[in-house]
Symmetry: C2
Subunit: 116 residues, 2 copies
């Protein structure tokens, strides 16, 4: 696996454990699907393979979304925010994004407001 | 200021410094505007005032979006993800979300892919 492009690596501002939050958004509908975490290696894999790949903080391992579920995220676009500390990954989500079976990880728990 | 509802506080999974990432999304267009951080107090203020309020990690203080710029975020909906560790805040953004003058904090820096 090729390392992360140095020009990109130089712009990233990481948490103390070397991670950057990555927002996965469905490219056409605009749905926010989930938030994952990437280190330099996960971002390099995401850019080079075209499949969204994250670092699991709970399992302490890389996971390419869909490896076990088949619910792959095909990457259409990757953006870095103005502070260099958040990624926006526009994807084409196969099936559902959430391990609970919901389309997005935000579908189930409305704290305030109304749908629509 | 009333404290955060205990039922909500019990569901939050926070970083070691007590924070949860909060994705701000324009409620009608679906644009992802920015990512901020909330602790319990910032979330309580967001819910009770109807204005998105964050904790600034760099300045170590609360900021209600738009206090200085006028670019207020009126809260339409707040959601918690399946793991309880990320918030999705659907807002009506007045003016621009980014301090650089761009509409969103992700407009300027495309790492891979094409607009559209």
């Amino acid at each position: 696996m090729s390392p992360l492009d140095q020009a990109i690596a130089d712009r990233l501002k990481r948490t103390p454990d070397g991670l950057v939050p990555a927002i996965a958004q469905q490219h056409d509908t605009g749905e926010v699907l989930m938030l994952g975490w990437m280190d330099d290696e996960a971002l390099a894999r995401t850019l080079s393979t075209g499949r969204a790949t994250y670092w699991s903080r709970s399992r302490q391992e890389y996971w390419s979304k869909g490896d076990t579920s088949g619910h792959v995220q095909h990457v259409r676009e990757v953006r870095l925010d103005c502070d260099g500390d958040t990624l926006l990954v526009k994807v084409d989500q196969v099936g559902v994004a959430c391990h609970t079976g919901e389309r997005t990880c935000f579908d189930a728990d409305l704290l305030q407001g109304t749908d629509g």
